[in-house]
Symmetry: C2
Amino acid sequence: MTFLLVVLFVALGAVAVAYAWSVYQKMMAFEVENPRIVELSGIIHRGAMAFLMQEYTWLAAFVGVVTILLWGALGFGSAFAFVVGAACSAGTGWLGMYVATQTNGRTTFAATRSAGDALDMAFSGGSIVGMLVVGIGLIGVSLTWLFLWGAVETLAAFGMGASSIALFARVGGGIYTKAADVGADLVGKIEAGIPEDDPRNPAVIADNVGDNVGDIAGMSADLFESYVNSIIAAMAIGVAFTSLYGDSRGALGMFGASFPLFLAGWGIISSIVGCLVVATKNPWSQIMFEYAGKIPHMNKILERIQSGDAAYALRVGAVIAGIKMIGGSFILSMLFFVTRGFHVFLSVTSGVVAGVLIGFATEYCTSSAYKPVRDLARASETGTATVILSGFSLGMKSTAIPVVLICLSTLLSYWLAGVFGVACAAVGMLSITGIALAVDAYGPISDNAGGIAQMSDLPSDVRKITDKLDSIGNTTAAMGKGLAIGSAALTALALFVAYAHAANLAAIDIMQPKVVVGLLLGGMLPFLFCSLTIEAVGRAAQAMIDEVRRQFREIAGIMEGTGKPEYEKCVSISATAALREMIVPGVLAICAPLLVGFFLGKGALGGLLGGAIVSGVMLALFMANSGGAWDNAKKYIEEGNYGGKGTPNHSAAVVGDTVGDPFKDTAGPSLNILIKLMTVVALVLAPLFS
Amino acid sequence: MTFLLVVLFVALGAVAVAYAWSVYQKMMAFEVENPRIVELSGIIHRGAMAFLMQEYTWLAAFVGVVTILLWGALGFGSAFAFVVGAACSAGTGWLGMYVATQTNGRTTFAATRSAGDALDMAFSGGSIVGMLVVGIGLIGVSLTWLFLWGAVETLAAFGMGASSIALFARVGGGIYTKAADVGADLVGKIEAGIPEDDPRNPAVIADNVGDNVGDIAGMSADLFESYVNSIIAAMAIGVAFTSLYGDSRGALGMFGASFPLFLAGWGIISSIVGCLVVATKNPWSQIMFEYAGKIPHMNKILERIQSGDAAYALRVGAVIAGIKMIGGSFILSMLFFVTRGFHVFLSVTSGVVAGVLIGFATEYCTSSAYKPVRDLARASETGTATVILSGFSLGMKSTAIPVVLICLSTLLSYWLAGVFGVACAAVGMLSITGIALAVDAYGPISDNAGGIAQMSDLPSDVRKITDKLDSIGNTTAAMGKGLAIGSAALTALALFVAYAHAANLAAIDIMQPKVVVGLLLGGMLPFLFCSLTIEAVGRAAQAMIDEVRRQFREIAGIMEGTGKPEYEKCVSISATAALREMIVPGVLAICAPLLVGFFLGKGALGGLLGGAIVSGVMLALFMANSGGAWDNAKKYIEEGNYGGKGTPNHSAAVVGDTVGDPFKDTAGPSLNILIKLMTVVALVLAPLFS
């Protein structure tokens, strides 16, 4: 039976991979007839792949050591699942980067034709990335589950493998991209006065490579990890709990374990439909549109999408995927849990709805279309300190709504279907990861395409098209970010409960001094972790600044365009710094739960996880939203508001943006993974502590 | 028996008050023979007192409403204790401010004679403030205890009264002082280019009033609140637990309740001895020195103190008070708990030691004598954004050591003497509040004295003396700040345990979804609270900036010194803003536990408190230390390092300092009170939820 189910899940995963493959084939058929674009995108491609290879070499050693330790401590099953999880995560990141760096040049060239072509190309790349994550995720989890003969408790090691890789990818990628970005901006834009993405800037290639390393590989690894861990947590809880909530059909437990996989599988179908809404040139999309045209009121929506309103198309795609997901989860829940089916369905829905609403809240706080960011831009009139303080308090305040939404979803889903309901809410929220990631990844691809346009001296309207796509991407990306944080919180909570069961903890009582101590230490770790990553970015950026300054000083004719900058030196500085600096935070995340578990016991470890989730979620929201708001306030001023470029107001906003960069691209996103990684490490090692 | 004990405690409290009174008499006998100083200190005195009267009028209404509600809900005892606690806190703040604003002018005049005279005068003021806090605290708690016929559980309402007043005083005072400070600095120093404390600056009086309102009244209320709450929490736990730990003599329970009071009483004696070490001109001090001179090796120490090394004297005073406290607690513990006495003694000691070490850690992170602040100053070389990021990550990192110390002290004292041990550690840490506050309060008095010197055109060497005292005060004040945060954490933990017992909670299990929801909401509140207070400072500062700019524009001859600035308008802007802006954060702090308790139950409320303590302690440490480090990095640059005044490095450091101001003087310190107030509100209202 398990075997048959796994065949089904693998098939559903394969649908996602096949969709990605078909889009990839079509994309590769598109010839870029501009040698400069080909050359530049080739350099970026090779730089990105080279970094990933370096990173993976290091991580292979790390994975090897941990595998041996796990084998010794917990047996072959865990070690095997860990390796497969790590490999799937690394493979997903590698493929995603590979595709994205193939897409950027094509998007640039497509933009020389029309905005529609460019959108199509960029979104193709994004949807491949998205589909690979969910496809490989579902296939990986279900095959490993089969291999382990249905031993769900061992499956957690798969999640731990994925988490470990994700943490290093996020931290390393975040450091890489920000070091290059700061170096390029500070010396190039401010000191030398040349525009962004100018080929005379030695750090320009590193900067463009960094966008891929951070925003594509990092984000993919992050969501891959959330995705598989939410499924695994729900499976683990499902096995333990379905007998309580399921009826005759659910009593076997296996139904509880397979339900999250069904949800995920249906999420893939929903995501593909959502993608097809945007990818209007896909033949499947055209068939779909033909049928949909017969539904009343749909025609207007379809027309607006086909007219090329990209922002609208992306949003409608996501909403349709969400609606399909909710509809499908209704049928699945009723089939699985009969009398309690409606309760489970509402739990799943609460997760989906909370995810979408958190996305809106994120957008409200970070988009220049709304009051908060405009107020932040106005704060630049009274100077730099005011911009910093306003962005700071905006970010702190922005924690309130998402936390309340997470709390409501938790309470509601628990009330409806117990702990299993909470786990299902997390799966529900993440089920549409495919489309969310597609919408998210298309942004950095457009950004890169713009960079290539600038560097290859294409006419300015090409850059305008890519800039437009990029700026739409910035807004829609809020959904992805909201999802990443919201799902991290729910997934961590689900993993936390799974840990408590695995460790045979009847309660994690924060009246116990050891637990309180764990709680305090856990609450402190995200602060320490942020500090480490921000400092790492600072050191790496300093090395980059020194190198760029040196090149401007020493290479003759660099400003006139006759001397060629040594791009590869900057690339290697970013890469080396990222690899060196990711070690300490990564080791901290893995060792802290271990040490507390061994020395203070499993109760204190539970407290540690609770504390880390609480302060980690708050800091992640605060940092992501402050950073996003500063970024967009600067852009808003650059559009000519409150003085525009070149005024003191703009300088003040630039400082805000620079402070926000490591917040939103390094420290903040890494926190999402930190809390999940610590929890899953605890879950995997729980047998050792109990 | 209780009656006799209370007589003893009141007598010990009276010793503190008598000491304060004798110092006050001597101080008042010192005539200021400079009419300009008298005039200026009179203006500051009246401004400060007027604000406090306004604030207390508002708070009287608030206290009235809460008293009626408490009376209805919990009976007369609680309502009475609440009023007395509020009145004691308000009275302490009022007296402290009264004395401090009498001392500042005298210190200025003393500085025209000698540095030793000035130190003596400033420290006299500080020690009066410190002694009043501990004296009134001990008298208030013990008399209320007697009045309630030993009902310790009702005594918590006394702490709630003190906490409520403290929160408003801290928030209001913090907003007042920062609005005035920013207004005076930004328009006066930066825009108009006149020096600090220049009488031509319309906001100068408001700024000097603000130092008293924030640093004297706010800090006194904060430590008063920690002091009484730690005693009350220990008494409450002592009653419940002493039968477990005490022997024959402790079995009555009353011994457990009175032990913390004995500790506090002995702390008063220790603090007075510590004060006498510094106040070498006091006749008691001279007697003490004569005896101490006979102890081997003491002579060198005494000589160095008598030679006028102020920094050394303050430190030796604090250390001697600490040693005396530890010695006394040994005797008390052995008398009370016989066989377990040594365990209780070690618990108390662990608190004292943790408090001192947290002080050192704070000093290391925020003093320009050490690497972190010097590195921060160097970061100014690469611009404003780097200063902000470095200060930010320094603050985040600085949470680690204090949290580890708090954890160690908690674990150790629990292991030794159970929950009662934890509570005793908090009392131990706070027992030397008298000297700590004396050392802390003398700083702002010196600062004010310097302001008066500047405004009355005294020769520059007078200002140099007061600046020297102020800068020594800045370093030694680290101890006070460390104490405020460390004790807040321990006191909140002790109150938290007391709450759980009062609410009959067998466990606060964070595996329960409601408790997790409480935990998340609780973790979010400090972030929201910080955001509210920082924004309040921003709004108030903006109003001040507008007013100062208007006066510079409209008042003829203001820059030449012929036109007189309208000081009182600025004072009234700060006052009105502070009173208006303190309401929302204050109400949030009181209503949040109420709402969660009523709607989600007592378990969720426990989670809320846990979450608030975790993220509140981290944020408080982070904000206080970032702010302090930015402040001292700026001063370090002003001393001529990394370019000195007027360079871009200095401008970058000034931005850091401006960002840090509301961190360290408004939001950070208010968080200490927030977590205690929420916990004590829960404790008082626990009977309603169970």
